[in-house]
């Protein structure tokens, strides 16, 4: 058997360390109800990092997260019982919204691969397009969901935990199986590590790249559905601020932006670190105007501790 790589567990160590520090300042932190709240707040980011991790493992980046989430939230809100359009698909809205995410992902991937444009620019541009469509479709007004049943998707509880957490857990399971047990997952590592060699070995590089963006689109679409259910509406700004949180979480979890190194499980830990950090900021009563500074400082500390930099010959 392979020996356990302790270094790989460092992000978990950082997470617990952070929890201990916050708990010292604020004993309430360690309550069960707060744990549930943290998991609940992590649900959407976790779903988002599932897609983002695959993209980053491939050495690419997806900046269209906010655009896709917003557009899919709008699609979701428009297809269930709402105050603007006369649709009432109930839960059947979910496949449509997720599919919409997948289609935008396909647009990302196809543009990236066929026009040979760096993913950074493609996804930035497509992200703008998505936000633009979300704004234009509604003229700036939100679509509000009046379907109580649909909102149970995140508001309801199963076995004592909010459904959003279960959804996120399911997303992690699917992502993990894809990563470990499918060709797509293995090809992502191969391409992220050495694309030229992967191509020579017969890895269908173009198809894999497109599929990964589609997959990321699906996850962003699901996150859009969850955001719409959680806030009871869909509008263009619903995802603002999600992009950098997502990427930070992926990197804090120990996945290298250069590709090839990392895992979706690492990213889950990364999300927890980032969310606990925000949560802890309020719990510890850090003055608002220094919060961003403290957060920046702590992220540097967390990454310093968590990242296995011996694997990286160069740091970019």
């Amino acid at each position: 058997m392979e020996s356990i790589n302790w270094r790989a567990l460092a992000p978990i160590g950082v997470f617990f360390l952070l929890c201990i520090v916050i708990a010292i300042f604020s004993p309430n932190f360690l309550s069960v109800s707060n744990a549930v709240r943290i998991l609940n707040a992590s649900a959407i980011p976790v779903v988002l990092v599932m897609g983002a991790t695959f993209v980053i493992l491939m050495g690419s980046i997806d900046l269209s997260v906010e655009g896709i989430v917003a557009l899919c939230a709008v699609v979701t809100a428009s297809l269930v019982l709402n105050d603007t359009f006369s649709a009432n698909l109930g839960f059947w809205a979910i496949p449509f919204a997720v599919l919409a995410g997948g289609i935008i992902g396909a647009a990302n991937g196809a543009t990236h691969v066929f026009l040979k444009v760096p993913s950074f620019m493609v996804t930035l541009g497509i992200g703008f397009v998505c936000l633009g469509i979300a704004t234009a479709a509604l003229g700036g007004f939100p679509v509000r969901i009046s379907d109580r049943g649909f909102r149970a998707l995140t508001l309801g509880r199963t076995l004592g935990l909010p459904n959003g957490i279960w959804l996120a857990a399911a997303a992690v399971f699917v992502a993990y199986v894809i990563q470990e047990r499918t060709r797509l997952g293995r090809y992502v590592y191969a391409i992220g590590t050495d694309e030229i060699t992967a191509r020579q070995s017969g890895v269908p590089v173009e198809r894999t790249r497109i599929l990964v963006f589609v997959l990321a689109g699906f996850f962003s679409g699901l996150a859009g559905v969850m955001a719409a259910a959680q806030l009871g509406q869909g509008h263009a700004l619903i995802a603002s601020g999600r992009l950098f949180t997502t990427i930070t979480a992926v990197v804090v979890g120990g996945t290298a932006l250069s590709g090839g190194v990392g895992s979706v499980l690492n990213s889950v830990v990364g999300v927890l670190i980032v969310i606990v950090l925000t949560n802890g900021m309020v719990l510890m009563g850090v003055p608002p105007f220094v919060q961003q500074g403290v957060q920046g400082f702590l992220i540097i500390v967390a990454v310093t501790l968590a990242l296995d930099r011996r694997q990286l010959l160069v740091v970019k």
Partner: protein
């Protein structure tokens, strides 16, 4: 056609793209071509260019600087807060503030070996806190008197040319000289294309990276000062929404996001392309609901045209 001519032509593609866009807009609205308007458009572009000019060095290293927006906002606050007390010295203090932020990014990247993406994101957070602190959490006005005494170099007009343009051209010339005529510039390019070989040649790569981040911080600081001068105030959110456009204009100009290939004049042209598209949309009268969509699409199309794929084997 010889290789040399092809190379030259490839280099000129960003300029052709810019010309095509300008002519395209002029076809709808001939007034766009009035010299006064062209000068205004150029002047309006300069703050974006200044932000992007320094960051070009960092991107050529294959790294990225996400702190420039926060740095620019911070220096605007420092300038506005100190101008009444220290007069011209405030300019130097503000610039030093920008450079210090660059120093911090450089140190964090070099000594903690954290990817620049996260390091600069975190440093940006810290700079935002500094901006809040320096400005006492509000916008600070710059009096007309201070403005005309100390900031005329940035906002005045001489022989019909806005000073912003002059500042931009001076920066363009200086940074171009640094990039193409000095050893440092060459090493920036070298680190971006094959860092390990540069290390093995006994070059202190950390020093190169350090100075690249300092230049980036310094130029972001200068951009903040010019912005403050133009808007007559400093504010912790003054440069909001500038980050992604700044990076976009570096890449639209044809600099490779993977490093090693690029130049300052390309960033200059890239900034003009971004500005012409944005302002052009208003000029042509594209409805605001469609502007974001058009902007996103044009961004992708522009990059598809301008990037030089011959020097990059793998597009990520």
């Amino acid at each position: 056609m010889t290789e040399k001519q092809k190379e030259l032509l490839r280099n000129l593609v960003p300029i052709f793209t810019l010309l095509a866009l300008v002519l395209g807009i002029a076809a709808f609205e001939p007034g766009f071509l009035k010299p006064a308007n062209l000068v205004t458009v150029t002047a309006d572009t300069m703050t974006l260019f200044l932000m992007a000019s320094g960051a070009t060095f960092v991107i050529m290293l294959g790294s990225i600087d996400l702190s420039i927006q926060a740095i620019a906002s911070m220096t605007s606050c420092i300038l506005a807060a100190l101008l009444p007390m220290f007069g011209g010295t405030a300019l130097l203090i503000a610039l030093a503030g920008g450079a210090t932020a660059g120093v911090l990014s450089g140190l964090v990247v070099n000594y903690f070996r954290i990817p620049s993406f996260v390091a600069t994101l975190a440093i940006g957070g810290i700079m935002t806190s500094v901006a809040f602190w320096a400005s006492n959490e509000r916008s600070i006005y710059i009096s007309d008197e201070d403005k005309s005494t100390w900031l005329n170099w940035a906002t005045g007009t001489s022989v019909g040319i806005d000073h912003e343009v002059v500042v931009g051209l001076v920066v363009l010339a200086t940074l171009s000289a640094i990039l193409s005529l000095t050893r440092f510039g060459r090493l920036v390019r070298a680190v971006g294309s094959q860092e390990r070989a540069v290390v093995a040649s006994g070059i202190n790569v950390n020093r190169i990276k350090f100075f690249a981040f300092v230049i980036s911080g310094l130029m972001a600081g200068l951009a903040g000062i010019v912005m403050a001068a133009r808007l007559g105030s400093g504010s912790p959110t003054l440069a909001s929404e500038f980050l992604l456009p700044a990076i976009a204009c570096i890449i639209v100009g044809g600099t490779a996001i993977t490093g090693g290939v690029g130049s300052i004049w390309k960033t200059f042209v890239g900034a003009l392309i971004i500005a012409v598209v944005r302002i052009g949309m208003t000029f042509v009268g594209i409805t605001v609901l469609a502007q974001q969509i058009v902007f996103g699409l044009v961004l992708v199309i522009a990059v598809a045209m301008t990037i030089d794929r011959t020097k990059v084997s793998v597009v990520k």
